[in-house]
């Protein structure tokens, strides 16, 4: 039963993470390959603040603000670039942030990590047990889903998709493409931060090794497998992939095997991305010709 609840919590956290990337990659067409950076920035911010007895409500807000702020700072110099270049910059950013977590030992305790992150107390209610935490994450996930749905179904969301489709045409219609992209990126970073914070308080121990390219690849895979640019794609993708990833962890294989199993599993992720892109880039759920939903 515990395993089941754990699985649910992980899946839901990754749903939030994937929804945030879906906004950027799926809807706005931004090539963000460093999304883990914002996941990590928020996780560390919230952890550090909570360890200093800052109430969760406040540490959460500050953690989100940090994620959003860094999203903003990163996007200003780089969002005008063409896709490939932006991809490399975000990729590099992800690596640099990991380096910061690793090197700034006075601040982040470096490779030793931050243990003992307290369980959140939100509005006087303590979310300590597994099922309580599940409730917490579920609540935030639902909130995220609703907020993003409002954004994506609005005229604002429409412009984002137009930018994805043809930014020159969008600009010619009077849309300030750069501005819209920044907003999309900041919102995406914010929600990535939410996922990161929830994750940090769940595992209660974070270290720089938790925020690597693997997490970016995983969330990217979730988004494209589920179907980028769809509302439920990230949900489906998260179910499939996190289930796969976490169940391997619980198979209780001999210790010597893990040395081979981890890279093998990650090779599968890499290979899956390649195969998907070649044979079914739309993913599982296709974007529907928006039938009768147009304008609603």
């Amino acid at each position: 039963m515990d395993l089941f609840l754990h699985l649910c919590v992980m899946i839901i956290i990754y749903i939030i993470f994937a929804m945030s990337l879906n906004l950027e990659v799926g809807y706005t067409g931004l090539f963000n390959f460093g999304h883990v950076a914002f996941f990590g920035i928020s996780a560390y911010t919230s952890a550090l603040l909570s360890l200093q007895q800052v109430p969760f409500e406040l540490s959460l807000l500050i953690a989100l603000a940090m994620a959003g702020l860094w999203g903003f700072l990163l996007s200003i110099p780089s969002l005008r670039l063409r896709g490939d270049y932006f991809g490399i910059v975000t990729l590099g950013f992800g690596e640099i942030i990991r380096m910061v977590f690793q090197n700034e030992v006075w601040f982040t305790k470096g490779p030793m990590g931050l243990p003992g992150i307290p369980k959140p107390i939100l509005f006087s209610y303590r979310f300590a047990t597994l099922s309580q935490y599940l409730l917490l994450t579920l609540g935030f996930a639902a909130l995220t889903f609703l907020i993003l749905r409002i954004i994506l179904r609005s005229p604002f969301g429409r412009v984002l998709r137009a930018i994805r489709e043809d930014e020159v045409a969008a600009e010619a219609l009077g849309k300030n493409v750069f501005f819209f992209r920044i907003k999309s990126f900041v919102i995406g970073s914010l929600f990535a931060g939410l996922a990161g914070t929830l994750w940090g308080h769940y595992t209660t121990f974070i270290s720089p090794g938790d925020f690597t390219l693997l997490e970016t690849i995983l969330v990217l895979l979730i988004v494209v497998l589920g179907g980028k640019g769809t509302e439920w794609g990230p949900v489906l993708g998260a179910f499939v992939l996190i289930f796969f990833q976490e169940s391997l962890r619980f198979l209780r294989l001999p210790a010597e095997w893990t040395r081979y199993l981890a890279p093998l599993q990650q090779m599968i992720f890499g290979g899956l991305l390649i195969v998907l892109m070649i044979f079914r880039p739309e993913g599982l759920l296709k974007e529907k010709g928006r039938g009768s939903n147009a304008g609603n």
């Binding site: 270049y85 090197n103 390219l213 093998l264 890499g270 892109m277 880039p281």
Partner: protein, 287 residues
């Protein structure tokens, strides 16, 4: 003062290696018009192929193992194109880049699967260097510089004196026009992969000689290679050379003032700086 000169030498050394990385990356960019996100892994596997051939059960000495290692790297480069990039020639950019990223991840973990995540070296003992004009330079380092120069001269000759080189330049300039004029773009593309793989392989081997090998070395060197190409003007192979040297110097001079833990971040910083100063070649309306 000696310290400064030593850093400059180290910078030029590293710069030569980065130049090789950047030249390979920009070559593929020029011919196929995309940044190969798996270029770092080509570098990394080049280094590991040599390691593989020098270790059990082969045990070849370096000069003997070098050519086969490079051949294997070429095979990998051509394989990349044949199995991943060629099917996606007409796909949209995001799809292509995601596939390249996936490929990079696959290759990186492949190396980890085979050789583990630990740092490895080729096993040459660190010999005392010669002292010239107050700075120390080892035989290894001389070899690195010489090899780089050889490669660069080689590339120059290839590009400007052979027919295939001319085809590559034509294809790089304008693929449609090149095709229409009957220039064999397919061979030009393959040839570009061969050259890029050799440059990556040699660069990776030199880097591993100078430092060490580990499966994750691809990513950060991709970023450095890209920063160098950006500096020199994307698609410009001689600019990439220059950019590499600049990055190498910046890194080695930079650690005189900032923490060595961020040495690898200097290239990224330069990249961001360039973007802020904004040469218009990078921005502007794209197609």
């Amino acid at each position: 003062m000696d310290f400064l000169f030593q850093s400059i030498l180290n910078g030029i050394l590293a710069g030569c290696i980065y130049a090789l990385f950047a030249m390979g990356l920009t070559l593929i960019y020029g011919v196929l018009n995309f940044v190969n996100f798996a270029h770092g892994e080509l570098i990394m596997w080049g280094a590991y192929f040599l390691y593989f051939l020098m270790g059990k059960p082969f045990g070849f000495p370096l000069p003997i193992a070098l050519i086969p290692a490079l051949l294997l790297t070429i095979l990998l480069g051509i394989g990349m194109d044949r199995f991943v990039f060629k099917p996606l020639r007409t796909a949209n950019r995001l799809t292509l880049l995601i596939a390249a990223l996936g490929l990079s991840f696959l290759l990186r973990n492949g190396a980890q699967f085979l050789w583990g995540a630990e740092l490895r070296t080729y096993g040459f003992e660190i010999k005392r260097g010669l002292r010239i004009l107050g700075i120390s330079i080892t035989l290894n380092q001389v070899a690195i510089i010489l090899t780089s120069i050889v490669c660069i001269v080689f590339v120059y000759l290839l590009f400007h004196r052979t027919r295939l080189g001319k085809s590559m330049r034509a294809v790089s300039d304008n693929l449609e026009l090149a095709r229409v004029m009957g220039i064999d773009s397919k061979h030009a593309i393959q040839f570009a992969w061969v050259i890029a793989s050799v440059l990556a392989g040699v660069g990776g081997i030199l880097l591993a000689l100078d430092t060490n090998l580990q499966p994750g070395m691809g990513l950060i060197n991709l970023v450095k290679a890209f920063a160098a190409t950006l500096l020199g003007g994307v698609g410009n192979i001689w600019g990439a050379l220059l950019g590499g040297i600049v990055i190498g110097l910046a890194e080695n001079l930079g650690v005189l003032v900032i923490s060595p833990g961020y040495k690898d971040a200097i290239a990224f910083g330069i990249m961001v700086l360039m973007l802020l100063i904004r040469p218009s070649a990078l921005l502007g309306r794209q197609e």
